[in-house]
Symmetry: C2
């Protein structure tokens, strides 16, 4: 059965996180040094580190689902028997660090040369713009998985590329632009992806 | 089958949002002026108002579920066939307003005389404390449903009552304490529960 929105548009589920799990084994083979972890794993570890050291309170939001049917078996946990993935209305991560509102999305690409903008959704751009207007700090963490390179992509740089695409320009952001106009994160041991040290730099330089 | 954590503790699902739906009809009969809406409905309306007027970007977080089994039928949406409710690790609402990190929980009580602290979980107190330490603004919106009265309960007041309970004191916060030491919200038409006007006052008075 095709699920439709009230306006007749066909519902397309967000299966990203499930898909990631399915390909987990494959990813294990690609790289030794990140030990097969997804970017999500690495960021969860980093955020736990921040939380335990009282550096920041930043969490990944749960995957939004529309629950249709729940069973309540006797003497055991309620089981959801029918539910559907919903389109998230925001980015995946947010929280607070030293009085700053932090809000970001995490994206991985297999490309070695550019970050395809099809990874980003229009509603996410809208959300990031709203956050920036409220003086929140908004960015995207991009992992070039094959290269094992990580970047903090400030919203201003993303928006420029997005608007350019809307005017008929390039549909991706070249690695060279990342090298010249964004901030590279050197992955470490603990925290794995220390993005807050980059944000601190950006604030000092008044670049966010 | 009983679901257990690795430490052997029995898993108790959070079925709050489902329970609310189940009793929706009953609530319709209690009050005419809030038209049977739950506090969650009222806050979602309020947050939409704030978002559309570019006043603030504040969202309810999705209910966290552990997905175990998903079906991918041909030509239709993926269906979650087995999933379980997880305990949320944070409060339900967060976002940004004019550079401030806003983080709160919403609670309803049927009591006419006091707010039972069993409505609050230890991990939420911990989270609110962490948020306050990071200079975020943390509070609870409490609705006395039978009285149709709404209050912003600052974290400091909640924490005092909580610590008092831990030392063997009262297990609830009397309505009188709400009247003397918290901020009452007069429900309106649009926005319904204008809690940000209260937060603005609290900031001006340096009370948060």
């Amino acid at each position: 059965m095709t699920i439709r929105y009230p306006n007749g548009k066909i519902y397309k589920p967000q299966v990203e996180s499930i898909a990631k799990k399915d390909t987990g084994q494959k990813k294990n083979d690609i790289s030794f040094s990140n030990r097969g972890k997804t970017l999500e794993d690495e960021l969860n570890e980093t955020n736990n580190f921040y939380l335990n050291r009282q550096i920041a309170v930043i969490h990944k939001k749960p995957v939004p689902v529309q629950i249709v049917n729940v069973e309540y078996p006797k003497r055991s946990a309620a089981v959801i028997r029918e539910a559907y993935f919903r389109t998230p209305s925001t980015t995946d991560y947010n929280g607070v660090w030293n009085g700053y509102y932090i809000d970001f999305e995490a994206k991985e690409t297999e490309s070695k040369t550019s970050f395809p903008l099809k990874n980003v959704h229009a509603h996410q751009i809208k959300h990031m713009e709203d956050v920036s207007n409220q003086k929140g700090i908004s960015f995207t963490i991009v992992r070039f998985s094959k290269l094992e390179r990580y970047f903090v992509l400030p919203f201003t740089v993303l928006l420029e590329a997005w608007n350019n695409m809307e005017r008929g320009g390039a549909k991706s952001i070249p690695l060279k632009v990342f090298e010249s106009s964004t901030y590279e994160i050197s992955p470490g041991y603990n925290p794995r992806i220390d993005y807050l040290s980059i944000i601190e730099k950006m604030i000092t330089n008044k670049e966010c």
